[in-house]
């Protein structure tokens, strides 16, 4: 049994690597053949009917749009390697999971991260508790997206755009499989005698079930951005830099964004529930690494609308996608290479140089492609007025870019300073809060104003009408907050602008619902589709922003040494220490819990856990969650002797629960935005996929102007 897992896993990794390389090479050969023989370019929109036909009839005839030709066979062959890549990744994952669950300590990874006493859930989750395993997860998610892409665009396999995108995915996949062959081999076996047991994962990672869901969701988001990035590269290579590829990847981007958002919010929730300091966001490099692609991805989701509507900002949108993808690689480098401990330590971990080189290569190749295609990327349009929807999106992008710059600079700045003059400085929460707060407030303001702005140019009169009641809602909220005792300019501005943005989003949703009803549709249609789902996401953002401002501005905390029966008062709450429970031993973990009563009512049990292989005790906070405020209890230090005083930590923070609710609303909004709207549903069944939102590229249109109007009508095809 023992060598089997290692052999299976390594075989899976090798299969994945070989299949990705072969896939990339086959596609490259196919593309080259088509190019050399001058096969007619194969347009997205003419692909599907021809493709379906071809699949049934083998080689197919000489259809309009170049349904056959040299190299097509290679393109068909190349894409099918995706399934082998997926197979390899699944095999590696399954082998590692079997090894973990069966406690196969002959594998170094299991010996380092497994233990017989770890509960099954955390044993399964150990796959992503250390570097090598998390690369397996990355490869699995990436090959999942690769296979999904191949399946989704099966009808357009002969389209060079799709082929190039698939090729780019193969290259990225090859890199991650190569990591597992080279510096981060998860299937190395232990040298010498096989240990009888292991230490188990880091205690912090086996303290809360969220650890089982937060990392996979984050990876789905992180890795999901590879798909739009691959299409961006493909658009540059093929020169079809118009809007077709944007429409084709719209939902992929949204889905990745939704997963990333959910992953980040769940990560904050995990740190609130586990770390025991009452906080949920510490601007720590790992958090920043996940937040950076979110910022650039969010900027992209907005600016892409200018391109789809007006054909402008092509270079900018491509750059944002390149930035988003390369920031995921840079973030992995920062958090996985040990570089953050010291600049000088990163070469000690073998994976650091690999990731940094890949990051560098990504940036250089992408910028090179953008430079090479510079002539095609220039758009003729112009933006008429800053006071317009376009103007608001541009401002949004400048602020998001500045936000990302602040977070990136703050994260890497200590490294830069250390590299330059060997000085060590810290850039922490005070810096990030001070620098990002004004940017956050401006974003809230834009969120309120942008939906009210029409495209092209707005008049003052129009704005006054549309913003009338949102502005009064904002004023009302500020007045109410002041009357309720809220103080401080920044949180009051956050509440006011939050109300402003929420009212604007609600107004938009109400209008959409009314319009839909007037057309005879359902009210529900008011919340479905990109624009309306986006407004629901905005509502979630407002909830998160307001909760963040309230919780971090109006928190109060105390640490008190209390004898049994003694109380401490904080922010209107009385917390009484009643005594200790008997220590409980589960597996290797010894837990001591205190009994703490809040306001003479319910008794909570904050605890301390001692793990045999950890030097520090790990706390398990206990929280009284409420809609208006949370009372967060920790056991800082247990009594030395039974009956002695214990140190109890209390944190009272308002509105914390709305962070998680807001995160849920954002996820819901994303689902609604991905959901086919009325327009899309009407066209369901029509094989025209890419480029159907009027997304034909200018180049395509110029090459074949008739075809734009000659797109198959829904009725004609179905």
């Amino acid at each position: 049994m023992r060598p089997v897992n290692a052999a299976l896993g390594s075989a899976g990794v090798m299969l994945g690597l070989v299949a990705s390389v072969l896939g990339a090479l086959t596609l490259a050969a196919g593309l080259r053949q088509r190019r050399r023989t001058g096969a007619p370019p194969f347009l997205c929109r003419s692909g599907p009917p021809a493709g379906t036909h071809r699949r049934k009839n083998g080689s197919g005839g000489d259809e309009v749009g170049g349904g056959s030709g040299p190299g097509l066979g290679l393109l068909w062959l190349g894409r099918s390697f995706a399934w082998l890549v997926l197979g390899g990744a699944v095999l590696a994952t399954v082998a590692m999971e079997i090894a973990l669950v069966t406690h196969d300590f002959s594998l170094q990874y299991v010996a380092d991260n497994g233990s017989r006493s770890t509960p099954l859930l955390y044993t399964v989750a150990s796959l992503w508790s250390a570097l090598e395993g998390s690369i397996i997860l990355w490869a699995l998610v990436l090959s999942g997206f690769l296979a999904a892409l191949v399946r989704r665009f099966a009808d357009q396999a002969g389209d060079p755009l799709v082929a190039w995108a698939t090729l780019a995915m193969f290259v990225v996949a090859a890199f991650f499989f190569a990591l597992m062959v080279g510096p981060a081999d998860p299937f190395t076996t232990v040298a010498g005698a096989v240990p009888a047991d292991g230490p188990g994962p880091n205690p912090l990672l086996q303290n809360h079930p969220l650890m089982a869901v937060h990392p996979p969701l984050l990876y789905l988001g992180y890795v999901g951005f590879t798909v739009p990035f691959a299409f961006a590269v493909a658009a540059l290579v093929t020169g079809r830099v118009g809007e077709g590829w944007l429409a084709a990847t719209r939902r992929w981007t949204l889905v990745a964004w939704g997963f990333l958002t959910t992953g980040i919010v769940l990560g904050a929730w995990w740190s609130y529930e586990v770390l025991g300091w009452g906080g949920f966001w510490a601007w720590d490099p790992v958090e920043n690494a996940s937040f950076l692609p979110w910022l650039t991805g969010t900027a992209y989701l907005h600016s892409v609308m200018i391109q789809q509507r007006r054909g402008m900002l092509r270079v900018w949108n491509l750059s944002l996608l390149v930035a988003t993808f390369s920031l995921t690689i840079l973030g992995t480098f920062l958090t996985r290479s040990g570089v953050l401990d010291s600049v000088h330590s990163f070469t000690e971990s073998p994976i650091g140089p690999w990731l940094l080189s890949f990051f560098g290569a990504t940036v250089v190749v992408s910028l090179g492609l953008i430079g090479w295609r510079g002539d095609r990327l220039r758009a003729p349009g112009r933006i008429d007025s800053p006071v317009s929807r376009e103007g608001a999106f541009l401002a949004n992008n400048v602020v998001f870019a500045a936000f990302a710059f602040v977070v990136l600079l703050g994260t890497v700045f200590p490294l830069l300073v250390e590299a330059v003059n060997d000085d060590r400085i810290s850039v922490g929460t005070p810096y990030f809060n001070r620098m990002t707060m004004p940017l956050g407030l401006v974003l809230l303001f834009l969120m309120a104003v942008a939906p009210a702005l029409p495209w092209r140019k707005a008049s003052g009169e129009l704005l006054r009408t549309r913003l009338h009641w949102p502005a009064w809602a904002a004023t009302g909220v500020v007045v109410a907050a002041v009357l309720l005792g809220a103080r401080g300019l920044a949180p009051l501005l956050a509440f006011g602008l939050g109300a402003f943005a929420a009212a604007a989003a609600l107004r938009q949703l109400a209008l959409a619902a009314r319009a839909s009803r007037r057309r005879g549709g359902s009210v529900l249609a008011g919340v479905v589709g990109r624009a309306n789902g986006g407004m629901v996401v905005h509502l979630g953002v407002v909830l998160v922003a307001v909760a963040f401002a309230a919780a971090s501005s109006y928190d109060s905390s105390v640490e008190a040494r209390l004898a049994p029966g003694e109380s401490v008062s904080l922010a209107g709450h009385t917390v009484t220490y009643l005594g200790m429970d008997e220590p409980v031993v589960t597996g290797q973990r010894e837990t001591v819990a205190a009994r703490v009563q809040v306001d003479g009512g319910q008794v909570f049990q904050p605890a301390l856990n001692r793990f045999p292989n950890a030097t520090q005790t790990i706390g398990t906070p206990s929280v009284r969650t409420g809609l208006t405020e949370d009372v967060y209890l920790t056991l800082v230090a247990g009594p030395d002797q039974p009956g002695d005083p214990a140190v109890i930590g209390v944190v009272v923070q308002p509105l914390v629960v709305w962070l998680w609710i807001g995160g849920g609303v954002m996820a819901l909004g994303t689902v609604l935005a991905v959901w086919p709207g009325e327009h899309r549903r009407r066209q369901a069944g029509v094989a025209v996929r890419a480029g159907h939102d009027g997304g034909d590229t200018d180049e395509d249109a110029a090459r074949d102007p008739v075809d734009v109007d000659a797109r198959p009508e829904p009725a004609g095809v179905s």
């Binding site: 300091w277 500045a402 710059f405 502005a471 904002a474 920790t634």
Partner: protein, 156 residues
């Protein structure tokens, strides 16, 4: 625009400004000793952990620093004195706020500079995007147009 239409907005601005003034006037920072201790310890990095402040960390070293800060707050020392004292106890700086002088100040300056450049770029782009001015029309042209339009044009 008529004064009657402007009035509600004027009222809104007044109410909002009033509320914000009242709301930010009472905000004099932390007052009690416990609040000062908490505020100060969130300015310092825990020396033995990664990425956590002294306030947030459960490590013994952080707890010791918190006790020391609380003692000095009680003695009535100023915030600057306390931060300087604790920071001086360690070979590496514990201050989570980067310095405002030397190389460290770049972390404050660069984002502001970048934002200014970006906004200037945006302004330049809008200037470039501005529709071209209507062409100059000479008297000669006007006369020709008038002629072409016939009698109704000649009045003007």
């Amino acid at each position: 625009m008529s004064a009657r239409r402007l009035l509600p907005w004027l009222a809104l601005v007044l109410v909002l400004a009033g509320a914000l003034v009242v709301g930010s006037a009472g905000d004099g920072g932390p007052r009690t000793d416990a609040e000062r201790t908490a505020a100060l310890s969130s300015q310092l990095r825990c020396p033995t952990c990664r990425g956590q402040s002294v306030r947030d960390s459960n490590a013994p070293a952080a707890a010791a620093i918190r006790t020391e800060i609380a003692r000095r707050v009680e003695e009535g020392q100023s915030d600057e004195e306390i931060l300087a004292y604790v920071d001086g106890q360690f070979s590496e700086s514990l201050l989570l706020t980067p310095p405002r002088s030397g190389v460290g100040s770049l972390v404050w300056i660069l984002p502001v500079a970048a934002l200014v450049v970006a906004l200037a770029g945006l302004a330049a782009a809008f200037r470039r995007w501005r529709p071209p001015a209507p062409p100059e029309v000479s008297e000669e042209d006007r006369r020709r147009v008038a002629e072409a339009l016939g009698s109704e044009g000649t009045d003007r």
